[in-house]
Symmetry: none
Subunit: 132 residues, 2 copies
DNA sequence: CACGTATATACGCGATAGAGTATATACAAA
DNA sequence: TTTGTATATACTCTATCGCGTATATACGTG
């Protein structure tokens, strides 16, 4: 599997990562708390480990998995190129997040606003709302 | 297509987003600069617009696409839960990012670094190495 | 050693995404 | 209107993903 983005595209994998965010866990614990089948958990963990998101240590028959930071930072690095851009739109953003029922406890940068509208003369119509 | 993560999982879409990061562009410009076929560009733009990553205005026969900030922030919000975790590992992280430059489809990381094996019975060990 | 537990892997299946080709639509200029 | 340009969509094909089922492997205990 290619990039870190493809890795975190899978909802169950994101759940696993979030779960491991609190503390390291065994496969069985993950299986139980997330209500996924054991093979499914193992396979996702395999993908996550190959991608560097997690690492494991052996404890008797158990494997304890925990997060590794690097791939997250890679995502963050990609996201960084858009930060300056969205910082001017935080208000609209909050509406958006509220609407989706997401909790946003982030700590983003509030800074300048560079809303550069460069529309020209009206041509004829507007029809901007294409099918949604 | 479900989440924002699935949207940005596609490499061509990430390229489009990065390109639009500099300034708004028409389909033709994207097609040319990224060397993708026109239908491919249009379809990706459709996906991106449906997901709220971009919006378009009409300029004669052209459509000018530009970024919208909300979905990026959504990704950022998810990432936030891991920030406190990786901040302790910045040094290792930088090595990681340096090393991987930008190569795709690479997961060569030898994840078997500190595998604390505590078994004692020699049982006929099979390749614990992750076959990939 | 046999057994139970914990985890990993193999295999087949159904769903779906992305690309290519062809065509449809919108608009402008002649 | 006809033609040319710019973009969107329909359709088909192929590859891959994620799951379930079944089995293999590893380990501790009796």
């Amino acid at each position: 599997m290619g990039s870190v983005f493809e890795i975190i595209a899978e909802p169950n994998r994101r759940s696993i990562l979030s779960l491991l965010g609190s503390s390291e866990k065994s496969v069985g614990e993950i299986e139980q708390q997330l209500r996924m089948s054991q093979p499914t958990v193992s396979k996702h963990l395999r993908v996550l480990r190959d991608a560097g998101f997690v690492e494991s240590t052996v404890d008797a028959q158990r494997r304890l998995y925990r997060l590794k930071p690097e791939p997250f930072q890679e995502v963050d690095a990609w996201l960084a190129q858009f930060r300056r851009f969205w910082s001017a739109h935080i208000d609209a953003l909050e509406r958006h997040l509220d609407r989706m029922g997401h909790s946003r406890d982030d700590q983003s940068t509030p800074t300048e606003k560079n809303t550069i509208r460069k529309r020209r003369g009206p041509k004829r119509e507007k029809g901007k709302g294409e099918t949604k």
